[in-house]
């Protein structure tokens, strides 16, 4: 059959995954840079809700009106957190935005040939999971969430090569060699482009790591074992959740892939399209580049558990 040899396939998959995601990562970096340069902390402090429930709904609402692919949302959220947006809002938005936007909802509707149960199931599962994760982090400070290498006012940075450097914004030409933000508060297209380039370069390393892992999974792991469990609800949900994490398919295309698993129960298909945009190998790597290890662990475990439980409940109730 027409297909590259296994090693060629691996490299082709790495490039396909990276270049598919790159425009969205660039867009996310651009939005993050605009946030960095033009959105003030004072404005956000005045206009953001203080309560946790309001913060969750703001995150979900932002996900609907500011659609962002999962590859682009991480740099945006990192910048929002830097600007003082509450973690509840930012993390709810991060997990919900790749799914509850019009483009993905339409693709889900089309892929499942008008099955409203799958569409609504996807929205509900992701909204509940994203809200729960946001709620979990509501008592945490931003410094507890964002990785130290991301610039945080008043906090020392640990560079990848082990050099401890100050993080207070300071003017260019200071010769401190810190390599981080010298431009906070500066505006203009040039600053936006420079910030975009820096953010893209930083996050692209993690995207690349995720693409390598996902491509290796797709090219070399024997996925045929999954067919053995397709008649068992619990095991099939676990199997397709694992596949969603390994394949790292874009949220705009994953419904079509899920719809091709016709022998699997709808609950398993639902778990595939609910978990994938919130957690996959690409995202895990990018989470690692933006957030602290403990946060990455929660972002991996909590959605997995919730999607599993909710998918099973959904399967028992409706099918």
């Amino acid at each position: 059959m027409h297909e590259p040899a296994q090693l060629d396939l691996f490299f082709s998959l790495v490039l396909a995954l990276f270049w598919e995601a790159a425009p969205f990562l660039l867009l996310g970096s651009l939005v993050g840079a605009v946030v960095e340069c033009y959105l003030s902390r004072e404005f956000l402090a005045r206009h953001l809700p203080q309560g946790r429930v309001g913060a969750v709904f703001l995150g979900l609402g932002a996900g609907m009106i500011l659609p962002t692919c999962e590859c682009g949302v991480v740099p945006v959220v990192r910048r929002l957190l830097d600007k003082g947006v509450p973690p509840t809002t930012a993390l709810t938005y991060m997990l919900a935005a790749p799914v509850i936007n019009p483009v993905v909802l339409i693709s889900t509707y089309v892929a499942f040939q008008g099955q409203l149960s799958m569409l609504l199931g996807r929205v509900v599962l992701v909204a509940i999971t994203a809200g729960a994760v946001g709620f979990y982090f509501s008592r945490r400070s931003i410094a507890d969430i964002v990785r130290p290498t991301a610039p945080l006012p008043g906090q020392a940075q640990i560079q990848p090569l082990g050099v401890m450097l100050p993080a207070e914004p300071h003017p260019a030409g200071c010769e401190c060699g810190c390599g981080h933000d010298h431009t906070t508060g500066q505006k203009g297209i040039k600053q936006v482009l420079v910030r975009t380039a820096e953010e893209f370069m930083h996050m692209s390393l993690y995207l690349l790591a995720g693409a390598l892992a996902a491509a290796a999974s797709k090219a070399f792991l024997p996925v045929s074992v999954l067919t053995a469990v397709q008649d068992n609800l619990l095991l099939s949900v676990v199997a397709l959740m694992a596949l969603a994490v390994l394949l790292s398919v874009c949220s705009e295309a994953d419904a079509f892939v899920a719809a091709s698993f016709l022998g699997f129960p709808p609950a398993a298909q639902l778990s595939f399209i609910a978990l994938g945009p919130m957690l996959d190998l690409k995202l895990l790597a990018m989470f690692g580049g933006a957030f602290r290890k403990r946060v990455v662990l929660v972002l991996a475990v909590l959605p997995t558990v919730l999607v599993f439980v909710l998918s099973i409940v959904w399967g028992w109730l409706w099918w």
């Binding site: 027409h2 082709s12 998959l13 396909a16 420079v194 390393l205 999954l226 295309a253 892939v257 022998g263």
Partner: protein, 262 residues
């Protein structure tokens, strides 16, 4: 531990490499081999993002006060080299399509949507479109005759049942979400086409007796690719014609109505 302090040289280098990656994206969007990685409908997106990335890289290279370390520079350089190596390999492959350029119209608009053979009229359709049509169960459309292009898959088990499979890879966004889509088919006069060959098959769908309620997804053991083979219908072939391998073998488009993407 060797500590290399971030400096301006690395910062300028990595920014220039970033600009190079942007230029690669821009070139890729015009490449004839774009389809090997991504659905051609995203050419405009790749090209636009490439232009913006190149601009960001150039501006960052010229910006004062930036510092960086060697690690990021090396990784980005390695990525650029892999891209360039892939690009050369892809361009050197024979038989690639000529439907290049990011903004060209697809070929389907330029060809007739039906063909007549041996007194019967056949609708041109691709396997993914036929698969969707079969799943929807529109009886009027299911009774039509179709011609499709596919690769042949034979297994001892299938051959024992007097069948072979017709498959083609369907790509929605990129190679990572590719799914083999296909139908089981019956040979004409017991003649099985060679395994792996490309064929144009003329025929019609036939409901299988005792067929499972739903089609079964199968995961191809040889390629690790997800595959969806329709189990409810057989494609009963009137004629199987060997054809040259398609220049662009993947299916990127699924149209609900004629003219189908074919």
């Amino acid at each position: 531990m060797v500590v290399v302090r971030p400096n301006r040289l690395f910062a300028s280098l990595e920014a220039l490499i970033l600009a190079g990656l942007g230029l690669f994206m821009l070139t890729l969007s015009f490449s004839q081999d774009y389809w090997m990685l991504l659905n051609p409908k995203f050419r405009w997106l790749t090209g636009s993002a490439g232009g913006l990335l190149a601009l960001c890289g150039l501006v960052a290279a010229l910006a004062a006060g930036r510092r960086s370390g060697p690690l990021k520079t090396l990784v980005l350089a390695a990525l650029l080299m892999v891209c360039l190596a892939w690009d050369q390999g892809a361009f050197s492959q024979p038989g690639v399509g000529t439907d290049a350029g990011p903004f060209t119209h697809s070929q389907k608009e330029r060809i007739a949507s039906r063909v007549t053979r041996d007194g019967h009229e056949y609708i041109k359709i691709n396997l993914a479109e036929l698969f969707v049509l079969a799943e929807k169960g529109d009886q009027a459309k299911l009774k039509q005759r179709y011609v499709l292009r596919a690769q042949v898959v034979e297994t001892p088990n299938l051959k024992g049942k007097g069948r072979f499979a017709l498959v083609r890879l369907s790509v929605y966004c990129c190679l990572a979400d590719a799914v083999w889509v296909g139908f089981l088919a019956t040979p004409v006069d017991g003649a099985f086409p060679p395994m792996g060959s490309w064929v144009a098959v003329y025929g019609a769908l036939e409901l299988r007796p005792n067929a499972p309620e739903k089609s079964e997804a199968q995961l191809d053991k040889r390629t690790n690719r997800v595959s969806a083979i329709n189990q409810r219908y057989l494609f009963k072939a009137d004629k199987v014609m060997p054809i040259q391998p398609l220049a662009v073998p993947y299916m990127f488009e699924i149209r609900p109505e004629e003219p189908y993407a074919y």
